[in-house]
């Protein structure tokens, strides 16, 4: 399954990650920089006004849109097709891929350029296109780096190659692409530019994800920095956009609010360098725009959350602000989650999309410190959703003794107070006593067990989390 990363079981991956000191330092340093940039562009930016108000606006818009999702998707698809675009509603990953393969075959496409998109990672579109004989080029710098490095997998939803340093990138470029320069980021970037320039112009199909679709006009909005999305949507004759079914706004006015929340929360910018808004219906004699447009609207498990306590998970705008403040992500990095969606939101979304069988342990990868919920620009109660997942997971486990279920509940299911913190401060509930050794848990039950091996693993409440984070900002180990 393309959403899945690696074959090892979850805690095997966590162990690997904990051994990788370079990766852990890189994650810590990246988190610190992301956090600071975000703070400068949000709470510390006087010009933007009250950031809390903005967050409430985001929440209000996302809630209304999801509550009326059928209506807005109908409007979007009608407006997109009114302008000549083709819309395909795909219930499953396979349906989406089959449709796109069909278009590629009809066009006899050889070269396909792609801008950054997590949803096409989710459906494994590159492999599907390769099956029908296409050469697929990732053009976002981070995705390009991963593709060249034997199709390495993303470790962060905004910067998928975050786990790689510049020396590793230089070595990969040298080994795989004939690069002869140094590890300087500007040289590496210039190399990618030169490699992709001609590819952009000769591509038959350009594929994009979708930050937001605008229902009232049938428009696709892309927020990017590198200019690659513009290249991908300007020169090929055919444009295919793949969107998760929840990624839309009613009108341009709501787009404004969400672009602001996204740009500031994701990369600490007032607005990303490009916000490109594309609507089908190009004039006959236009020279530099696609002639044909396809929009694939994907469910692939999203509807599992509709009408349930998890519906707000679909409010997510993929800014990674929650990832950037998560102490667990800081320790274990992105790959350990085993899903292309990492961090707190990954731990909420992956079980919804991929099921508890595969991802049921992920919601336990949290200290429930609530930093994620506090950071989220659309106010998703992420840590509460993690608790709800734990409850469900434990209740649905077969072959687990009632006593163990009870213990697991006490460990972090039945309460929003983080369990390690609870134990440190108040002592463990009676029935947990046998598990505690030297003041910490030596042998927690079920999915908790391996966490007990992470000595520094923080599980404080908000204030403790802050002091823990401060302490760890310098000594990144």
């Amino acid at each position: 399954m393309p959403m899945k990363i690696g074959e090892k079981p979850f805690f095997g991956r966590v162990d690997d990650a904990l051994q990788d000191h370079f990766m852990r330092n890189a994650m810590a340093s990246a988190q610190d920089r992301f956090r600071n940039k975000k703070l400068d562009a949000t709470e510390r930016d006087e010009q933007v006004g009250d950031w809390e108000e903005w967050r409430s606006a985001g929440e209000e818009i996302r809630r209304h849109t999801l509550e009326n999702l059928d209506f807005y998707l109908d409007q979007l698809s009608e407006n997109f097709s009114k302008r000549g675009g083709h819309v395909f509603f795909a219930k499953t990953v396979e349906e989406a891929n089959r449709y796109i393969q069909k278009v590629a075959k009809e066009k006899d496409a050889k070269y396909v350029t792609k801008s950054k998109s997590m949803v096409t990672e989710e459906i494994g579109l590159n492999e599907a296109l390769e099956e029908v004989g296409c050469h697929v080029y990732e053009t976002d710098l981070a995705e390009y780096i991963l593709q060249i490095d034997n199709k390495d997998r993303p470790s962060h939803i905004v910067v998928p190659s975050l786990h790689k340093n510049k020396e590793q990138i230089r070595d990969t470029f040298q080994a795989k692409a004939g690069y002869t320069g140094t590890e300087e980021p500007h040289e590496l970037t210039a190399f990618a530019r030169s490699q992709l320039r001609e590819v952009f112009l000769k591509a038959d199909i350009g594929i994009t994800g979708c930050n937001f679709a605008i229902a009232e006009s049938g428009t696709i909005s892309l927020a990017t920095n590198e200019g690659n999305a513009n290249m991908v949507t300007t020169y090929p004759d055919t444009q295919i956009t793949v969107m998760g079914m929840e990624r839309l706004v009613p009108t341009w006015e709501e787009l404004d609010v969400l672009i602001n929340l996204l740009s500031r929360s994701a990369v600490g910018q007032k607005i990303t360098t490009y916000v490109t808004n594309l609507t089908p219906g190009v004039e006959e004699d236009c020279v530099d725009a696609p002639k044909e447009f396809h929009l694939v609207i994907l469910d692939a498990g999203r509807s599992n959350a509709l009408g349930t306590e998890f519906q707000s998970a679909l409010h997510c705008i993929r800014c990674a602000a929650c990832v950037n403040v998560c102490p667990v992500y800081r320790h274990i990095g992105g790959h350990a989650y085993g899903s292309i969606y990492q961090g707190p939101i990954g731990a909420v979304l992956s079980p919804i999309l991929g099921g508890y069988e595969e991802y049921g342990e992920l919601p336990f990868a949290s200290s429930l410190c609530a930093a994620c919920t506090e950071a989220c620009p659309v106010k998703i109660p992420i840590h509460e959703l993690l608790i709800k997942h734990r409850e469900k997971y434990v209740n649905h486990q077969e072959n687990v003794k009632t006593s163990e279920k009870l213990a697991m509940k006490a460990f972090g299911v039945g309460t929003s107070t983080p369990f390690l913190f609870q134990i440190a401060v108040k002592g463990a509930p009676m029935f947990m006593k046998p598990l505690i050794k030297d003041g910490s848990i030596s042998n927690g039950p079920g999915p908790m067990k391996p966490w007990t091996a992470i000595r520094e693993f923080p599980a404080p409440g908000k204030d403790n989390f802050r002091s823990w984070f401060k302490e760890h900002q310098k000594g990144r180990q």
């Binding site: 990246a30 404004d256 916000v275 020279v287």
Partner: protein, 233 residues
């Protein structure tokens, strides 16, 4: 325009409605949003304040800002062209160039004015161009952003392929932020006006921080950006 196809819509949307525990909705009106901070940004700023903010915020985005006046525009453009090494230029096809008195400046063998009749040659010219020159339709003070409504004449390539783009920014085009631009577009969509196939918000040269989070300016789009801010237009 021939309507495009839509596959599997009803099945898909019926299922969404049933998951939401109700019938399909065929009419929803937008609520009046309780939170609208976007209108507060630069709310009481004068045109001069907006101009100053636009220039300051553009510089922060690595844009070379040149302030000028309409009468000086041809001269200023020539200076900029020289400063950026001269050579070939591409421009959009736009009546505003003649209104701004630039016809003569741009009438030379080095300059290619976008012409759909010439087909693919346009792209080749844009690719080789050192400078791409166009006019900003709306300009955002908060973020130093220019907005283009691209069509076959206001070609996308002009701001995308050349090494440097030069945007002419009339002072009158400057508004506080994206809010005013999207509001205007929203009004025109409601009025049934044809929306440009590409509405491009661009803030400075292309860039990336994907390698160790170090900002590199100039990735796939232009490496440099110049705004010619015209104070009496």
């Amino acid at each position: 325009m021939v309507k495009g196809t839509i596959h599997n819509k009803d099945l898909f949307l019926n299922q969404i409605a049933s998951k939401l525990g109700r019938e399909r909705k065929d009419n929803v009106s937008l609520p009046k949003w309780k939170h609208q901070s976007q209108w507060e940004v630069y709310k009481n700023s004068s045109k001069d304040d907006l101009l100053a903010a636009f220039c300051k915020n553009s510089k922060e985005k690595n844009v070379h800002v040149v302030e000028t006046e309409k009468s000086m525009l041809p001269e200023t453009i020539e200076k900029v062209i020289k400063e950026y090494g001269g050579g070939s230029i591409v421009t959009t096809k736009d009546d505003r160039f003649s209104q701004y008195g630039l016809t003569l400046t741009l009438d030379n063998s080095q300059t290619h004015i976008w012409d759909t009749a010439m087909g693919e040659v346009n792209i080749k010219k844009a690719k080789e161009a050192i400078l791409g020159i166009f006019v900003s339709d709306i300009s955002l003070a908060e973020s130093g952003t220019i907005v283009q409504f691209n069509d076959k004449d206001i070609a996308r390539s002009v701001s995308l392929l050349p090494t440097t783009y030069v945007a002419i920014v009339p002072k009158s085009s400057i508004v506080p932020r994206m809010t005013q631009a999207t509001h205007k577009i929203h009004r025109s969509v409601i009025a049934g006006e044809e929306l440009a196939t590409c509405v491009n918000f661009i803030s400075g040269p292309s860039n990336s921080a994907d390698i160790e989070m170090d900002i590199v300016v100039g990735v796939h789009g232009p490496v440099k950006a110049v705004y010619l801010v015209v104070k009496d237009l």
